[in-house]
Symmetry: C2
Subunit: 120 residues, 2 copies
Protein backbone atom coordinates (compact mmCIF):
# COMPACT_ATOMS: atom_id res chain seq x y z
CA UNK A 1 0.00 0.00 0.00
CA UNK A 2 1.82 3.07 -1.20
CA UNK A 3 -0.86 5.69 -0.94
CA UNK A 4 -2.51 6.22 2.42
CA UNK A 5 -5.95 7.67 2.91
CA UNK A 6 -4.85 11.26 3.14
CA UNK A 7 -3.66 11.85 -0.40
CA UNK A 8 -6.98 10.55 -1.58
CA UNK A 9 -8.67 13.57 -0.10
CA UNK A 10 -6.75 15.77 -2.43
CA UNK A 11 -6.90 13.53 -5.45
CA UNK A 12 -9.68 11.30 -6.81
CA UNK A 13 -7.28 9.15 -8.79
CA UNK A 14 -5.19 8.12 -5.78
CA UNK A 15 -7.26 5.03 -4.91
CA UNK A 16 -6.92 3.61 -8.42
CA UNK A 17 -3.23 4.27 -8.46
CA UNK A 18 -2.94 2.20 -5.32
CA UNK A 19 -4.67 -0.75 -6.94
CA UNK A 20 -3.39 -0.67 -10.49
CA UNK A 21 0.00 1.01 -10.47
CA UNK A 22 1.86 -0.61 -7.63
CA UNK A 23 5.20 -2.11 -8.48
CA UNK A 24 5.08 -5.10 -10.86
CA UNK A 25 1.31 -4.95 -11.26
CA UNK A 26 1.29 -3.41 -14.72
CA UNK A 27 3.81 -5.88 -16.17
CA UNK A 28 1.83 -8.78 -14.68
CA UNK A 29 -1.51 -7.52 -15.94
CA UNK A 30 0.01 -6.70 -19.28
CA UNK A 31 1.43 -10.21 -19.66
CA UNK A 32 -1.82 -11.88 -18.76
CA UNK A 33 -3.78 -9.55 -20.99
CA UNK A 34 -1.45 -9.94 -23.95
CA UNK A 35 -0.43 -13.58 -23.80
CA UNK A 36 -3.47 -15.03 -22.06
CA UNK A 37 -3.71 -17.59 -19.29
CA UNK A 38 -0.33 -18.56 -17.94
CA UNK A 39 1.34 -20.72 -15.33
CA UNK A 40 3.41 -19.39 -12.47
CA UNK A 41 6.73 -20.28 -14.13
CA UNK A 42 5.73 -18.71 -17.42
CA UNK A 43 5.07 -15.42 -15.71
CA UNK A 44 8.28 -15.76 -13.76
CA UNK A 45 10.23 -16.20 -16.98
CA UNK A 46 8.56 -13.36 -18.77
CA UNK A 47 9.17 -10.89 -15.94
CA UNK A 48 12.82 -11.76 -16.04
CA UNK A 49 13.95 -10.15 -12.82
CA UNK A 50 11.13 -10.90 -10.43
CA UNK A 51 11.64 -13.33 -7.54
CA UNK A 52 9.08 -16.05 -6.78
CA UNK A 53 8.34 -14.50 -3.43
CA UNK A 54 7.44 -11.15 -4.87
CA UNK A 55 5.53 -12.68 -7.77
CA UNK A 56 3.43 -14.66 -5.32
CA UNK A 57 2.70 -11.55 -3.26
CA UNK A 58 1.63 -9.53 -6.26
CA UNK A 59 -0.54 -12.30 -7.68
CA UNK A 60 -2.28 -12.75 -4.34
CA UNK A 61 -3.04 -9.09 -4.16
CA UNK A 62 -4.30 -8.94 -7.74
CA UNK A 63 -6.45 -11.97 -7.03
CA UNK A 64 -7.88 -10.35 -3.92
CA UNK A 65 -8.67 -7.20 -5.86
CA UNK A 66 -10.51 -9.27 -8.44
CA UNK A 67 -8.21 -8.39 -11.34
CA UNK A 68 -6.71 -11.85 -11.74
CA UNK A 69 -8.09 -15.33 -11.20
CA UNK A 70 -6.15 -18.33 -9.98
CA UNK A 71 -6.89 -21.93 -10.92
CA UNK A 72 -5.27 -24.78 -9.06
CA UNK A 73 -4.98 -28.19 -10.70
CA UNK A 74 -4.27 -30.96 -8.19
CA UNK A 75 -1.84 -32.89 -10.32
CA UNK A 76 1.68 -34.16 -9.78
CA UNK A 77 3.51 -31.93 -10.23
CA UNK A 78 0.90 -29.31 -9.35
CA UNK A 79 -0.20 -26.87 -12.02
CA UNK A 80 -1.50 -23.39 -11.28
CA UNK A 81 -2.82 -21.07 -13.92
CA UNK A 82 -3.43 -17.37 -13.75
CA UNK A 83 -5.79 -15.48 -15.97
CA UNK A 84 -6.96 -11.91 -16.20
CA UNK A 85 -10.57 -11.41 -15.12
CA UNK A 86 -13.21 -9.36 -16.88
CA UNK A 87 -12.59 -6.61 -14.33
CA UNK A 88 -8.87 -6.76 -15.03
CA UNK A 89 -9.45 -6.71 -18.77
CA UNK A 90 -11.57 -3.58 -18.36
CA UNK A 91 -8.29 -1.76 -17.77
CA UNK A 92 -7.30 -2.44 -21.36
CA UNK A 93 -8.42 0.90 -22.85
CA UNK A 94 -6.73 2.69 -19.98
CA UNK A 95 -3.44 0.97 -20.70
CA UNK A 96 -3.84 1.79 -24.37
CA UNK A 97 -4.40 5.44 -23.45
CA UNK A 98 -1.26 5.32 -21.32
CA UNK A 99 0.77 3.81 -24.15
CA UNK A 100 -0.42 6.51 -26.51
CA UNK A 101 0.60 9.23 -24.09
CA UNK A 102 3.98 7.57 -23.71
CA UNK A 103 4.54 7.40 -27.46
CA UNK A 104 3.68 11.04 -27.86
CA UNK A 105 5.37 12.55 -24.82
CA UNK A 106 8.14 10.40 -23.39
CA UNK A 107 10.68 12.08 -25.65
CA UNK A 108 9.67 15.45 -24.24
CA UNK A 109 10.28 14.17 -20.73
CA UNK A 110 13.74 13.07 -21.77
CA UNK A 111 14.45 16.48 -23.24
CA UNK A 112 13.24 18.18 -20.08
CA UNK A 113 15.54 16.03 -18.00
CA UNK A 114 18.53 16.69 -20.20
CA UNK A 115 17.87 20.44 -20.09
CA UNK A 116 17.42 20.38 -16.32
CA UNK A 117 20.59 18.41 -15.73
CA UNK A 118 22.60 20.67 -17.97
CA UNK A 119 21.55 23.75 -16.02
CA UNK A 120 23.48 22.52 -12.97
Amino acid sequence: MRQTSDPELACPVAPVVDIVFSRWTTPILWSLHTYGRQRFVELERRLTSITPKVLTERLRRLERDGLVSRTYHAEVPPRVEYEITELGASLGPLFAHLTTWADENLARVDEARAAYDERR
Copy 2:
Protein backbone atom coordinates in the same frame (compact mmCIF):
# COMPACT_ATOMS: atom_id res chain seq x y z
CA MET B 1 12.44 5.14 -8.93
CA ARG B 2 10.08 2.28 -8.36
CA GLN B 3 10.30 0.50 -11.69
CA THR B 4 13.66 -0.60 -12.96
CA SER B 5 14.50 -1.22 -16.57
CA ASP B 6 13.62 -4.87 -16.58
CA PRO B 7 9.88 -4.68 -16.09
CA GLU B 8 9.80 -2.28 -19.00
CA LEU B 9 10.80 -5.07 -21.31
CA ALA B 10 7.61 -6.89 -20.48
CA CYS B 11 5.34 -3.88 -20.35
CA PRO B 12 5.19 -0.73 -22.47
CA VAL B 13 3.37 1.24 -19.80
CA ALA B 14 6.03 0.74 -17.12
CA PRO B 15 8.06 3.85 -18.03
CA VAL B 16 5.03 6.12 -17.73
CA VAL B 17 4.06 4.59 -14.43
CA ASP B 18 7.46 5.47 -13.13
CA ILE B 19 7.08 9.11 -14.09
CA VAL B 20 3.44 9.78 -13.38
CA PHE B 21 2.33 7.39 -10.67
CA SER B 22 5.03 7.54 -8.05
CA ARG B 23 3.96 8.35 -4.56
CA TRP B 24 2.47 11.85 -4.10
CA THR B 25 2.82 12.76 -7.74
CA THR B 26 -0.83 12.42 -8.69
CA PRO B 27 -2.11 14.50 -5.76
CA ILE B 28 0.45 17.19 -6.57
CA LEU B 29 -0.34 17.24 -10.28
CA TRP B 30 -4.04 17.14 -9.51
CA SER B 31 -3.80 20.12 -7.18
CA LEU B 32 -1.84 22.19 -9.64
CA HIS B 33 -4.12 21.21 -12.49
CA THR B 34 -7.32 21.87 -10.56
CA TYR B 35 -6.47 24.95 -8.49
CA GLY B 36 -3.83 26.50 -10.71
CA ARG B 37 -0.51 28.09 -9.82
CA GLN B 38 0.32 27.74 -6.16
CA ARG B 39 2.98 28.54 -3.61
CA PHE B 40 4.91 25.94 -1.66
CA VAL B 41 2.85 26.43 1.52
CA GLU B 42 -0.43 26.23 -0.32
CA LEU B 43 0.49 22.85 -1.69
CA GLU B 44 1.74 21.79 1.70
CA ARG B 45 -1.60 22.68 3.26
CA ARG B 46 -3.67 21.02 0.59
CA LEU B 47 -1.76 17.73 0.81
CA THR B 48 -2.42 17.65 4.50
CA SER B 49 -0.02 14.93 5.53
CA ILE B 50 3.04 15.59 3.38
CA THR B 51 6.24 16.85 4.97
CA PRO B 52 8.21 19.75 3.47
CA LYS B 53 11.15 17.49 2.78
CA VAL B 54 9.13 15.05 0.72
CA LEU B 55 7.19 17.80 -1.02
CA THR B 56 10.46 19.39 -2.07
CA GLU B 57 11.77 16.10 -3.42
CA ARG B 58 8.64 15.42 -5.46
CA LEU B 59 8.46 18.94 -6.85
CA ARG B 60 12.10 18.78 -7.92
CA ARG B 61 11.51 15.54 -9.70
CA LEU B 62 8.36 16.79 -11.42
CA GLU B 63 10.23 19.89 -12.46
CA ARG B 64 13.06 17.82 -13.89
CA ASP B 65 10.59 15.69 -15.83
CA GLY B 66 9.07 18.85 -17.29
CA LEU B 67 5.63 18.33 -15.76
CA VAL B 68 5.82 21.28 -13.36
CA SER B 69 7.50 24.65 -13.56
CA ARG B 70 9.02 26.56 -10.66
CA THR B 71 9.21 30.34 -10.43
CA TYR B 72 11.34 32.00 -7.80
CA HIS B 73 10.62 35.59 -6.75
CA ALA B 74 13.51 37.18 -4.87
CA GLU B 75 11.44 39.03 -2.31
CA VAL B 76 11.41 39.17 1.48
CA PRO B 77 9.99 36.82 2.46
CA PRO B 78 10.80 34.72 -0.60
CA ARG B 79 7.97 33.60 -2.82
CA VAL B 80 8.07 30.50 -4.98
CA GLU B 81 5.27 29.48 -7.27
CA TYR B 82 4.63 26.15 -8.89
CA GLU B 83 2.55 25.65 -11.98
CA ILE B 84 1.67 22.73 -14.16
CA THR B 85 3.32 22.83 -17.59
CA GLU B 86 1.69 22.14 -20.90
CA LEU B 87 3.25 18.69 -20.82
CA GLY B 88 1.85 18.09 -17.35
CA ALA B 89 -1.56 19.33 -18.39
CA SER B 90 -1.55 16.86 -21.27
CA LEU B 91 -2.13 14.19 -18.64
CA GLY B 92 -5.58 15.67 -17.96
CA PRO B 93 -7.58 13.33 -20.22
CA LEU B 94 -5.68 10.38 -18.80
CA PHE B 95 -6.63 11.35 -15.27
CA ALA B 96 -10.22 11.79 -16.35
CA HIS B 97 -10.16 8.33 -17.87
CA LEU B 98 -8.78 6.99 -14.59
CA THR B 99 -11.49 8.70 -12.60
CA THR B 100 -14.16 7.24 -14.84
CA TRP B 101 -12.77 3.75 -14.39
CA ALA B 102 -12.71 4.30 -10.64
CA ASP B 103 -16.33 5.44 -10.55
CA GLU B 104 -17.44 2.43 -12.52
CA ASN B 105 -15.29 -0.29 -10.99
CA LEU B 106 -13.99 0.55 -7.55
CA ALA B 107 -17.08 -0.97 -5.95
CA ARG B 108 -16.37 -4.23 -7.74
CA VAL B 109 -12.85 -4.24 -6.33
CA ASP B 110 -14.29 -3.80 -2.86
CA GLU B 111 -16.68 -6.69 -3.41
CA ALA B 112 -13.87 -8.91 -4.66
CA ARG B 113 -11.85 -8.10 -1.57
CA ALA B 114 -14.72 -8.83 0.76
CA ALA B 115 -15.41 -12.14 -0.98
CA TYR B 116 -11.74 -13.10 -0.90
CA ASP B 117 -11.35 -12.25 2.77
CA GLU B 118 -14.46 -14.16 3.68
CA ARG B 119 -13.17 -17.32 2.00
CA ARG B 120 -10.40 -17.60 4.64
